[in-house]
Structures are given as structure tokens and as C-alpha cells.
């Protein structure tokens, strides 16, 4: 198609707006706009983008808004005619009749779109006499992050649309009409009173300072900007950090980020002030006479290396263990496992994946051969059905959650949630299968049953690309539906309908979280989710697949780098002689032959006196691992506990040596997000105080202990990693670009969006049937402890909360709360916000009640972000039979109203 700009012909695309056509040809911002934004739909309110258009050369022109008018064949466009320039100037003059003229003291002076456009139009005076205005609207400073000064509002609706189209929260709207139209939050409330989730999308979208944040993220300062990746969850949002010298000013989301497209949640955007919090650990410390005392790095290194060498010599290398951190970079995780294996000489290395997605890695490896997400976040745009199981992404993976929510709201899409709680997504879903916690396997077997019964099996796919189907089918058809319905508490017709909807969708994808894995049957559940994909042929193309929502920012990466006792860097089997040879050649030392301890086994070994030293990096096992008292005892039983941390966490309190690590803002490296995307983390600041990049600390000790390892640089480390991890073959620091690469990356540097397109890593996809089995926790304790407690996370806090509790987030979410159904609350005389004592076989804790119908009777749920509650005092030792992932999601408890005495001292 051909169209003309200023009488010159250009090629235009079908369905392209005049605005994007002109911007494509004449360059970005060739046409000024005010209501348009990169991540929002065209809205047509400002009319600044108007252009003159004639249908043929020399014909009479008509003025049209270019943002929502489409280019048509043979159109003549005049983007900057005299008429248009006058129109824009006149519109701006009108805007200025209701806008304060105090640019010099305005927060966004120099970075204001209204200023820019006004300058461009050359408006020099406001000819209208003083009239009605909105200049006295009061500022809203109620919120720890969000601010508004609506006297600066130009009514462009960008904030309203961002809250709707991006976050899906509907906090903002307009009230009144005509000239009186004005932005409101909720029912004309303050940010703090409203349902705002502080994602900051509105502040970023606002072209003026009318909605902003306490960090003044749109202010122009003598700053530099560094692009990096969020340190919290596995979504892996890109962030643009602005700093002045050694101070971080604010964070914004780059629009060109594939992962988050200009969006973040409040953790990524606002929860960064932990980095220079007074409580940051700034010096190494050694416990002397029962007290941790500041020491020099030299002393700490000497102490650690001599101790470790001593234990190795005296008790053997297996008396030492390491827990690496999924919060650290790939390079650091690689170093830690290398240190433990090649320098210490044991496979006793594990990481937090143990307590979250170890069943995912294992289960998917068993079915597909690869333990990682099969598809990409972007595929949400290309699917017809999303099944969310055991996950609450709007809280735990907010940016992906927001995208899924957008998907759920559209009536043509199929949306299914399997979760005991009425999560935010469950409220929007077509099907909510509210099962009893611990019965995932029952419900998924029912789904598989109905898919077979209804003849919805993708026969050809099953024939060509899978094995074990006939046995599997036979077993599935034999399940007792009556029994499964009774056990799970989910109506069979609902399960049937959901199964049909999933199986009939042209493309269906699933997302799962810890509500799948943290169960005694966690690995089996993952395999069933994979079976659902296999049986319906939802594998190997866009918009389908099995997509674990990885918890920590780099939990994918830490596993990839070999942070598990049975597989080394690149998931190679550490007991395979071929592999051992390969690693030995590469590391230049001889390596241990036996599989090492998983985290729970480390604690058992400690209690048995077999473990002498443990080095824990960035992981608060005391607060976040189950059965707290046992963990504490285990640490007390270990001679040398080295904790490398940012803060004095609950675990750090038991350290003999405390090493101050660096936050993600203070070092470079890579993180791998939940869709296998390896992205560059770029250092913004030097490590604070005397702290050091974690990788450098490990390297220093390696060298002390006689292993030569060059100083920590991401370039150097990636060079090394790419030689040993097959799917990193083509990854180089220089080639990662701004949006990273999704592994596997071949030697040519080509990455992979979709796994298993033609074959599976293990050849064929494998069906494997497992019947439902009640957890021991229920079998043994349900009689005395009739309620089921399930733990979960909130949006505002991240796991143990060590970081988020040291930011403004703590003013928004101030405590762990116990979700309890009104009937249960009434039965125990529990009122809103009363203390409730939860008692399990292991102990007691007190939590404040939050009475809500979003939880079913008989089930309770709470978070574990605050150490004073210490919920893990009551969680059990039950774990996934295959992967040893703890069963956090099913705890048998009894409840009573209490006085709040069972609080941990912190």
C-alpha cells in the first residue's frame, strides 16, 4: 500500500495508524502527542496528534487525529501544515488555561511532555481571561510510594488506562463530566485508602507530575541510568536504575524490555531502599566469645580456609556442605558449586530450589527430559486457554500475573484455576476448581480421565511423540471418580467441563507454582501437568506448553549452574563416569563420586554429628525452611556456620562467621528468568561499606584453599561456563544485548523460545501414571488437628522479607495474616484481626485473623514474611517423595482464639 507524506510516496502497512506510519518514516516523535503512550491503546483525547489529510492530491484536506486514524491507500498526509501547527498551539493554549505555570519548581521540570509539546507549538501567551480552574486540588501524600498533585493533571487518561490495560487493577477513573472531569482513586479516596497495588504504571505513564512517586522517578537530575534486572521474582523484569554518584534515585521500567514491556510490580520499582539501609551488613564478622565481632576480610578468609581444610582433613570432604543462593548471579552459583565440588571435594551442594521447584525440574525431566519452562511469557498473546494451578501470580509473579489477568478478563479466552483459595485470578476465571489442599493428583487424574472419556485425546501427537500411553490410559480409566470427587471436594461436572475446555482449546498453556510442588506428591503433580500437555498435544509451538512460575529471580539459573547434589553444571549426572571425566578435565582436579546431601539431609546429618561446616549464601533457612526448631538445632550442632548475607537474618544469628555480600545493585553478572532467559545484571554502585560481590568472596576463598581462580568478572565467568554447560555454548557477556537470550543458545548465538518443537530431550514424551495418595500429615494428624493450613506469599513481601521489610513495603503490608472462613471464625469466637493460635504436632504460633470468604471452611492460609510469627515453627518434615521438597502446603493444625503470646523474639 502506498501513501504520501508531504506529497512524497512511501510504502504503508495495512492497518497501520497514521501516527505510526509517520513515525516510522519521519522518525520517532515526528508528530507530537500527549495522550498516546507506548504500551497503551490509542485513545484520542489530546488531539495534539492531529494531521491534515486529503484523499487525493490537491483535494480539500480534513483534520484527523493520527493516533486512531488508519492509513488508507493513496492518502495524502500533511503532518505539520500551517493549519495543524496553529491547531496544536491553540489546544495547548487551552490546556494552559487550567494548568499551574510553575514549571521551574515542578518535579518533572525538564522531563515533562506538556513542556515539550508546548515548546514545540511555540505558544507564548494565554489569551483567555482567568476562568474556572482546578489548580487548588490538594496533593495526595498518603502513600509510602505513590503521590499525586492533580492540579498538574491534563486529563489525558494515561494513568487510568495504564491501571486498566496494563495492571488490570481499576483503581483510577474519572469522576464528573465535561470541564469538571477529574481523576479519582477508588471512590474519590487517597492512594492509601484505595485498592492500589503500587505497581507504578500510572506514575510512569503520566506525562506530567500529576501522578508520580516519592522517588520522583521522572525528575531530571545529574544522574546516570543503568539497565539491570530485578532481584526479586523469577519473572525477570528489566529495570532502569537512575543514580547520582553513589545514590540510587529511582527505578523505571524500560518499554523495550521483552519481559516486562514497561511494567513492574512494586517490589521491582520501589522496594530498593534496602540497599543502603542502616542494618545492611558492612563488615565481615567472626563469633568470638559468643559475640559476633567485626574483623578484616583477611582474618575472615584465614579463619574459614583453615577451618575448612581442617574439617576436610579430619572428617572428610563430606563433612562440609554449601547452600548456594538463587538470589545470586549464574556466575556466582557456578562458582559456589565449583568450590564445593572441586575445592572442597564433595557433592554436598544444594539451593533454595529444593524447597520450591525441585519437583518441577525432576518431574519435567522425567516426562520431557528438560526441567524448564517449555515456552515464553510472550506466548500469553498467542494462546486460547490458560490453566493456572497452585499459583497466585498476581501476588507472587506480579508482572506475569497482570498479563494473565488481562487474558482472563477477555470473554473469548478459556481460563481455569486450580487452587484451594479464591485467588485474584480465580475470581476472574471461567473455572475455579477449589480443591482441598493436597489433592492435586486426584483432580488432575480426573481431568485426564474426562479428556480420554470425551475422546479429546490428540491421537496423532500421542502416537508419534509419546510413549507409555496405553498403560497410562488403562490406569486413568480405572480411577474411582466418586472417590476422587469426595477426596478433592470438587464437583465432577466442573472438572469435566474444565477438562473439556482445556482439551478443546486450539492452544492451551499451563502455569504452575509452589501449590503444585510443595506437596508429598509434588513431582507426580508436575508430571501430570506435563501429561495434560502431552495428551492434548499442547507442546512444541507458540501459545502452549508447561510453564513453571519460578520463584526466585535466579532459581532457574542456580539449577542450570549445578546447584544440586546429583547434577553438576548443565544438569550432567555427577555419578556418570563419562561426566565425571569431563568435569575433572575441565576443573583440573579429581571429583567426588557420590551424590551429596539435599538440604533436609544436611540438617539431618548435622543432628547426627556428621556435618561439621556449612556455608549458606543468601538463604534464610531458619525462617523459610520447614520445622524451624529442627533447623535451629541443626545449625547449633554444626561446628562452623558461615553465613553470607545482606542482613542479620534469623539464620545469620546462628552464624560463626558472617560475610557481607553485595546486593544485585552492586555487582554484575546474569540472572536466568523462568522462561530460560539469561539477562545481564549490570552493576549500578560499588558494594556498600566493606561488603563484596559474592562471587569475589568465593573466589578469594578458592584461592586461599589452593585453587587458582581468576578474579570475578561476568565476561570471564561466562566464558568459562559456556565451555561446560552445553546449552550456554553461545552465551557471551557481550552478545546478550538488552533483552538477553533464552537457552539453549547454540554456538552461533541463536537462542530458543520454544522447547520440544520436534523432539523431546529424552526422545519421546513419557506418560507415567501415579494414583492419588493422601499425605502422611493428614493420615497421621488430621484427627487431632482438623484444619489444614497452607502457606503462601503476599504481593508486598518477598519470602523471609529481609529485603522488603526494610523498604516502604512494610508500611503497606504490616503483618502476616491468617485467612479464615467466617464460619470457622464464628465457631471459635474469632473476630477480625484477633490473635489466633495455630497448633500443630510441631508447635504453636500466633497469627492475626483475616476473616474472608476467599478461603474455604476447614482450610486456613498464611504468609511467612515476618519473623515474629515464624510460621515454619509448625510446618512439618513431610516432603515430596521424589524431590524432597517440603510439604509447606498441607499442615494439620487446630486453632483457638489467643492472646498473641506465641511470638518469636526478634
Amino acid at each position: 500500500m502506498r501513501a504520501y507524506i508531504n506529497d512524497i510516496a512511501y510504502r504503508a502497512e495495512q492497518g497501520e495508524s497514521i501516527l505510526s506510519f509517520c513515525n516510522r518514516i519521519l522518525g520517532k516523535k515526528s508528530i507530537p502527542t500527549l495522550c498516546d503512550a507506548p504500551n497503551l491503546e490509542a485513545f484520542g483525547s489530546c488531539r495534539i496528534c492531529s494531521v491534515d489529510v486529503a484523499l487525493e492530491k490537491g483535494a480539500k484536506t480534513k483534520t484527523m487525529a493520527s493516533c486512531h486514524s488508519m492509513v488508507t491507500e493513496g492518502m495524502y498526509i500533511y503532518p505539520n501544515s500551517t493549519n495543524i501547527r496553529r491547531l496544536r498551539k491553540n489546544i495547548i493554549e487551552l490546556v494552559l488555561t487550567d494548568h499551574p505555570l510553575d514549571c521551574l519548581t515542578c518535579e518533572v521540570n525538564g522531563n515533562c511532555e506538556l513542556q515539550d509539546v508546548a515548546a514545540l507549538t511555540g505558544v507564548r501567551e494565554v489569551r483567555y481571561p482567568q476562568g474556572a480552574h482546578h489548580l487548588d486540588r490538594p496533593k495526595d501524600l498518603s502513600h509510602p510510594y505513590m503521590t499525586s498533585d492533580l492540579s498538574k493533571c491534563i486529563n489525558c487518561y494515561r494513568c487510568v488506562r495504564a491501571c486498566d490495560e496494563v495492571q488490570g487493577q481499576f483503581v483510577l477513573s474519572m469522576a464528573g463530566r465535561g470541564f469538571d472531569t477529574r481523576i479519582i482513586k477508588g471512590m474519590d479516596q487517597s492512594f492509601m485508602e484505595s485498592d492500589c497495588v503500587s505497581c507504578g504504571a500510572c506514575a510512569q505513564a503520566c506525562p506530567t507530575s500529576a501522578i508520580s512517586d516519592v522517588f520522583e522517578s521522572k525528575a531530571v537530575r545529574t544522574d546516570t541510568k543503568v539497565r539491570t534486572v530485578c532481584t526479586y521474582c523469577g519473572v525477570g523484569c528489566n529495570l532502569e536504575v537512575s543514580k547520582t554518584e553513589d545514590q540510587i534515585n529511582s527505578i523505571r521500567a524500560p518499554y523495550d524490555a521483552t519481559v516486562n514491556e514497561g511494567h513492574t510490580c512494586l517490589k521491582g520499582r520501589y522496594a530498593f531502599k534496602f540497599y543502603d539501609h542502616p542494618e545492611r551488613l558492612r563488615d565481615p564478622m567472626i563469633k568470638k566469645n559468643g559475640q559476633l565481632e567485626k574483623v578484616s576480610w583477611e582474618e575472615a578468609y584465614d579463619y574459614i580456609s583453615s577451618k575448612l581444610l581442617h574439617y576436610k582433613e579430619k572428617f572428610g570432604a563430606d563433612s562440609i556442605a554449601g547452600i548456594s543462593s538463587s538470589r545470586c548471579t549464574n556466575e556466582e552459583n557456578y562458582l559456589m558449586q565449583k568450590f564445593i565440588r572441586a575445592v572442597v571435594g564433595t557433592n554436598n551442594i544444594d539451593g533454595c530450589a529444593r524447597v520450591c521447584h525441585s519437583p518441577t525440574a525432576l518431574g519435567m525431566q522425567r516426562t520431557f527430559g528438560t526441567g524448564a519452562a517449555t515456552n515464553s511469557i510472550e506466548d500469553i498473546q498467542h494462546t486460547n486457554c490458560i490453566l493456572v494451578i497452585g499459583a497466585n501470580p498476581t501476588a507472587a509473579h506480579p508482572v506475569t500475573g497482570a498479563r494473565i489477568k488481562q487474558f482472563f478478563m477477555k470473554s473469548d479466552n478459556v481460563s481455569i484455576v486450580i487452587d484451594p483459595r479464591k485467588t485474584e485470578l480465580a475470581k476472574y476465571a471461567n473455572f475455579h476448581l477449589a480443591l482441598r489442599p493436597g489433592t492435586n493428583v486426584a483432580v488432575l487424574n480426573m481431568m485426564l480421565y474426562y479428556i480420554i472419556k470425551e475422546g479429546l485425546v490428540a491421537e496423532e501427537f500421542v502416537r508419534n511423540r509419546t510413549e507409555g500411553y496405553e498403560d497410562f490410559k488403562k490406569n486413568i480409566l480405572e480411577i474411582d471418580i466418586n472417590e476422587m470427587e469426595r477426596i478433592s471436594g470438587v464437583d465432577r461436572d466442573l472438572v469435566r467441563e474444565a477438562a473439556i475446555a482445556y482439551a478443546s482449546a486450539p492452544n492451551a498453556m499451563s502455569f504452575h507454582g509452589l501449590g503444585v510442588t510443595e506437596h508429598s506428591q509434588g513431582t507426580f503433580t508436575v508430571m501430570q501437568i506435563a501429561d495434560l500437555a502431552l495428551i492434548t498435544g499442547n507442546i512444541g509451538r507458540k501459545g502452549v506448553g508447561v510453564n513453571p512460575l519460578r520463584g526466585q529471580n535466579n532459581v532457574q539459573g542456580s539449577a542450570d549452574m549445578g546447584v544440586q547434589p546429583h547434577q553438576g553444571a548443565g544438569y550432567l549426572d555427577v555419578t556418570d563416569p563419562e561426566v565425571i571425566k569431563k568435569y575433572e578435565n575441565f576443573y583440573g582436579v579429581s571429583l567426588p563420586r557420590a551424590i551429596g546431601y539435599k538440604i533436609p539431609e544436611m540438617f539431618d546429618a548435622a543432628l547426627e554429628g556428621k556435618l561439621k561446616a556449612i556455608w549458606i549464601i543468601g538463604e534464610d533457612v531458619v525462617q523459610t525452611d520447614p520445622n524451624t526448631q529442627k533447623v535451629i538445632k541443626a545449625l547449633q550442632h554444626t561446628d562452623l556456620v558461615i553465613v553470607q548475607e545482606l542482613f542479620m537474618t534469623e539464620t545469620a544469628k546462628y552464624a560463626d562467621v558472617l560475610l557481607p555480600g553485595a546486593s544485585f545493585l552492586e555487582k554484575s553478572g546474569t540472572f536466568t528468568n523462568g522462561e530460560r532467559r539469561v539477562q545481564r545484571v549490570n552493576k549500578v554502585l560499588e558494594p556498600i561499606g566493606n561488603s563484596k560481590a559474592d562471587g569475589q568472596i568465593i573466589i578469594d576463598i578458592m584461592n586461599r584453599m589452593g585453587y587458582e581462580q581468576a578474579d570475578y568478572t561476568p565476561e570471564g565467568m561466562l566464558q568459562e561456563i559456556s565451555q561446560i554447560v552445553p546449552f550456554f555454548a553461545g552465551i557471551r557477556w557481550e552478545n546478550l544485548g538488552v533483552n538477553g537470550l533464552q537457552w539453549p543458545v547454540d554456538t552461533q548465538g541463536k537462542d530458543t523460545q520454544i522447547l520440544h518443537s520436534d523432539t523431546f530431550k529424552r526422545g519421546k514424551g513419557k506418560f507415567e501414571f501415579h494414583p492419588f495418595e493422601e499425605s502422611n500429615e493428614i493420615k497421621l494428624h488430621a484427627k487431632d488437628y482438623p484444619y489444614i493450613l497452607t502457606t503462601n506469599r503476599d504481593l508486598e513481601h518477598y519470602n523471609c522479607g529481609a529485603m522488603t521489610r526494610r523498604t516502604g513495603n512494610v508500611l503497606i503490608n504490616t503483618q502476616d495474616a491468617l485467612w479464615i472462613h467466617p464460619d470457622d471464625a464464628a465457631q471459635h469466637g474469632i473476630g477480625q484481626n484477633d490473635w489466633v493460635c495455630l497448633e500443630s504436632e510441631r508447635g504453636k504460633v500466633d497469627v492475626r485473623a483475616l476473616i474472608t470468604r476467599d478461603i474455604q471452611p476447614g482450610v486456613l492460609s498464611t504468609t511467612f514474611h515476618f519473623p515474629e510469627i515464624m510460621v515454619n515453627n509448625i510446618t512439618s518434615d513431610e516432603a515430596c517423595s521424589e524431590a524432597l521438597c517440603p510439604e509447606y502446603k498441607v499442615v494439620a493444625v487446630r486453632i483457638r482464639k489467643s492472646k498473641g503470646k506465641h511470638l518469636a523474639k526478634v
Binding site: R47, I91, D164, S173, R177, G178, F179, D180
Partner: protein, 551 residues
Amino acid sequence: MSKNLSELSLRQGIIDGLFERISRTAVETGRADPKLLQQLADDFLIGSASTYGAASFYDFMKAENQGKKAYVCNGSACLCAGTQKAVHKALSRHFDSTQIGHMTCLGRCHENAAFHIDGKNYSGSDLTDIEKIIGQSQKNRDSYSVKANVELLTQEIGDLKSFYEPLIRLIDSKNLDKALEDIKSSGLRGRGGAGFPIGLKLQICRDVAADLKFIICNADEGDPGAYSDRYLLEERSHAVLQGMMIAGILVGASWGILYIRAEYPESVDQVQKAIEELQNLDLLGADIRGSGINFGFKIIKAQGAYICGEETALINSIEGQRPEVRTRPPYPTVEGLFNKPTVVNNVETLASLHYILKNGGESYRSLGTEKSSGTKLISLDSFFNVPGIVEVEMGTPLRTVIDEMGGGFRTAVKAMQIGGPLGGIVPVDKIDELTVDFESFARNGFLLGHASIVCIPEGFEMIKYLEHLFDFAQYESCGKCFPCRLGTKRGQELLEGAIVRGQKIDKQLFVDLLDTLEQGSLCAHGGGIPLPVKNALRYFSKELEPYFIHN
């Protein structure tokens, strides 16, 4: 316009949809109850800002409406007739000033002195009987003259069964192509203002594949001075319903929605009655006459906002969103109500369809002019000796309408505003140059629009009329686009300053303002208001010049 809100609203359907439920929150006190709005927001998962924001848009739900009991009509015709003061005075004897609000045009322009109490309209001599009126439960029907030079829309309905013959034939024969061909060849153009050919609209909507489609009858006749749609709704309801069903069947819509303005309570009753009659004929519901066709009607009573007559604002309103104008494309025919293909037509357009199906497209086309076929209803206000509704063949000289059918002016008139507040101001010396059709009006720099006539008497100052127009425009602006939200307000302020404080208006500024509105506005509300103003500046320059200065 939010796609998400459309989708979430659709989830709970149209029968007791979000908008009606929002409307009910105001029944108690006249103001939408925040507690109930919160409840609705939770039920629909749309956030309280959405329900609160929507309610605050409408005259009859916003906070200022709390406690209002009686309303004075402040439409253009009542203004020019000078009846408002007396009405206000009479009402003040029974209500205190906080209980008296205003409504813009109750459609009683034929006798003016219009007011509204307790869901009922009154006008003319009713004023003398206020005591009797208060607490009365009967609806109050008015009467006015109806004349025609060709009887098409004004034809008696007669026996219902035979009146619905065209529809029944369509249902039984399923010869949809032929029916659509007839409508296209009739040349019928929309009567709501823009004059878009309905045949083309139906064709486009029919061509879009969708499982759910809608026909909307735009019965929000908001133009002060117009009451011809009210006439059709109340006196010829079945013509409207039949037209909707014909259009619905042609495009494959199963719902016909009538969006009727709150200021027409009697229309709601009459249409409801007609729907029940249609029900009794077994011409509604599922599988009509065993044809497999389903069709149902839904009346939605508006809540007081002129912009809801604009079709995309109307759609947002039905969805329970703020009735702000949407951008186009996509056009409603492709993505309309609840993001589904939707045909929106004016009452009068739809009421013409049965004639076309009965007599064929050519028969309709033979009436009127080349580009304006058929007949047109015209509303005459109380300045005529014979006020009321007239139906004329398109192309009829305006002089005939005024002198012969309307019986001439009762008192001296200097101009008429024809086609509503956005229609042109036609000085009386232009009457002989105009014929009643789209082209004649456009050619002469006016607008046929919906063809209501509001007379501006000799003694009425033009500057005041312009101020009234700008005041209406700013009060009714949806507020979405910059030029109209700000420009109509500033225009009103400039004129008020000139009238009240003697502040002269910078002529260049005023011209710039009109151009900005005309070229920059998103919809014809802001885009249309400059037309009458420019007419006035041209034809009444002498009278207006003293209020301006040239810098």
C-alpha cells in the same frame, strides 16, 4: 472506553446489567449510594472507581441531584419561550430551592412551560394545577397536532397482525438478501443527525462473524427542541419495534435494546406496553414461528446526559462505563456493545423500515430527492400557530413547513435553530432558500440534523442565545477530548464575561477557539457547536459586533 470493562460487564449479561444496577443505587436519595457502588464494583470485579466514576457522570445520579424533587426544563425552546421563570416560581411554592433541579428538554416544546415531578412530565397549562399533580400516579400524556404531506411514519398502525405482515413474511421466507437489497435501494439515510445510509451499516454488520450481535435503537433524543422520536415511541411504538426486529434479523442480532432518555418516562411506558403486545402475538423470544430466529427486547432508561445520544457514548453507557465517546475505528458495526458487532440507529430511521419491506425499496426511493429519499419528521415549537409534529416528503420547501403546516409564527421571530443545539441558526430571510433535505441545508451552511425547529424571537438577544448554546455544550461535554472539555467552557466564560461584565471578546481568540473546536474535537459535540455560532456571527454581525474587539 475500556475493553476490559466491556468484557467484565458482559459477563453478567444485559437483562439486569451493570448500568441498570448502577442506576438503582440512586433510587433512594437521588444520589448513587457509595456503599452500593462498592458492592457492585466487587460483584463485577471492576474496582469502585469504575462504578463511582460512571455514576458521577449522570445528572440523575450525581451528588448534586441528592434530594431533588422537581425539575424545570431549561431547554432552548422553553428558554426562548420565556416560560422558565414562571415555572420556577410556581414550583417554589411547593418545594424549597434545594429540591428543585433542572432537566434539559422534556420534549414538550409544542407548549413549553415544561417541568417534571415524580417521574412524570407536565407542560403548558399544567402549571396552574401543581397541587393536583403532586402525588398523582397516572402518567401524563400530552397532545399536539400531527400533520403530514406524505403519511408514512405518521400512518396509523391499525390492526397489529397485519401491521407486522412485513416482519412475518421476512421471518417465514428468510429471504434476507432481498430485504437487505430493498433497504439499500431505498436510499434511507440515518435520521439521528449524520445521515449515514442504513443499508450499508446493516451489510457491514451482517458480514462480521460473531455469536452475539446487538441492535440498538437510539431513543436518547437529547436535542432541545426535538420530540419527533418521542412521538414515534409513544404513538407509533410498533413501527419502531418492527424496524428493530427487521434490522436485527438481517444482521443476525438476537437482542434489540432501546435506550430511552430518562426525561421521557411516558415513552418508556408506551414501548413497554408495545413489547408486551408483541409478546402476545408470539413474535418474540426463542425460535420465533419455528424459524430458529431468537429475538428479545430490552429497554434501558437513561440517567440524564446528552452525550449518551452519541452512539459510542451510548454503548459505553449501556455497559455501565462512563459514557465517553470512543475512537473509531473500530466502528460499532464491527466492535460495539460489549465489543460485539452492533448496529445503532435512530428511532425514526428504524421506524421507516417496515414501509420499505412492505412496499419495496424503489417505492421509498421515489419519495424525496436524489440523495435524501423518503420523508422527515419535524418538531415545531410553541412559536408556531400550529405547533406539533409534521411529516414532510424530503425536498419540501421550508416555507411550506412554516407557513402552511405550522400556520406561521405566532410572534415575530428573527431566526430559527434547526437540527438541535449543533444545528445551524437560520435567519428568517433564508427560509425561502431552503428545502427540507440534507443537501439543501448543507449547501447553505446549515444542518438538517434531526430537524427540530426552535424559534428565536425578535426580542431575544443573540449573544444570550450563544451563551446558552456554549453553556449547554460545556455542561454536556463528555470531557474526554481536550478541545471540547476546555474550549466549550472557555467559550461560555467569554460570552458570559461579555454579557455580565461587559468584557469585550478578542475576536481572533474567539475565531481560533471555534476552529479548534471544529477541527480538533473527537466527536460532533465539540465539533458541531461552532456551526450555529458561526451562523450567528455571520447573519447577526451587527447585533453581535459590539461585544467583540479586534486586536
